[in-house]
Symmetry: C2
Subunit: 154 residues, 2 copies
């Protein structure tokens, strides 16, 4: 089962997002965990590899069960770990083979094109206290079928 | 890849632990996530199934990458999600086919026999603020080879 870690960097009321070429959708930089990594190590490493910057004050905001379905059949299932960083050190790449990187006003998380579940995750990471949990079911074409969310505050 | 969720219930300076028959080691009640569950749902369900009580004020405290090694070879790898609950509703089972359930003074987390990594997790869950991340490497006989820990506070 895949484990994906991504990270939303927030600095001066802006967020660093990657625009993927295929659909033009925006994502928080991240990628696949490697064997033996912790989710924290994976999020920091993947973010640095994709952006060239070091995230500061990194904290886990969400753990999500991602399910791809074709009708009632589960096609794929993986775990997504979403972190936030309250600042970065360094200057991000402008473009990589993964897509275009840029800072956006945090308010644009409401409107930029992205997977529906990602908007839920990223708005929580940017604005809410505590930790979010949930399951997102998508079609193979990445249309959201359902989301079930829980959250807690320490 | 397996995903295991467990939960440490803390109430009146006591913790509810399960003593497993095989080695006599103590664990926080939990078990395997099912397809499509969130980690939160899995922790609450497994805890209730194993103890007969409902955990209150449930919050994620740690996410751990668990690796079983034989020499340099990785034999197995799974994810462990450790939650805390600040109280419970109901009266726990005394004994189940999983082992013996009992409340213990929270200080006994320091001394009760358990897997070394579990002590790290449970002491953090009981006493520390924030979220812990890390990787535990064990032998097939569940001797700890290494632990690498990170943590963060919101």
């Amino acid at each position: 089962m895949q484990r994906i870690a991504n990270l939303l960097a927030v600095q001066n009321d802006q967020v660093l997002l990657l625009q993927k070429p295929r659909r033009g959708w925006y994502v928080a930089p991240g990628g696949k965990m490697e064997s033996g990594e912790s989710i924290y190590e994976a999020a920091v490493r993947e973010f640095h590899e994709e952006t060239n910057v070091t995230p500061l004050d990194v904290h886990l905001k969400g753990v999500y069960t991602m399910v791809i379905k074709n009708g009632e059949q589960v096609i794929d299932e993986w775990m997504l770990y979403t972190f936030v960083a309250r600042g970065v050190k360094g200057t991000p790449f402008k473009e990589t083979r993964e897509g275009k990187l840029a800072w956006h006003p945090v308010g644009e998380l409401q409107t930029l094109p992205m997977a529906k579940g990602d908007r839920t995750n990223l708005l929580f990471a940017a604005h809410q206290k505590g930790t979010q949990y949930g399951t997102f079911e998508y079609t193979e074409d990445f249309e959201l079928i359902s989301e079930h969310i829980q959250s807690s505050i320490e």
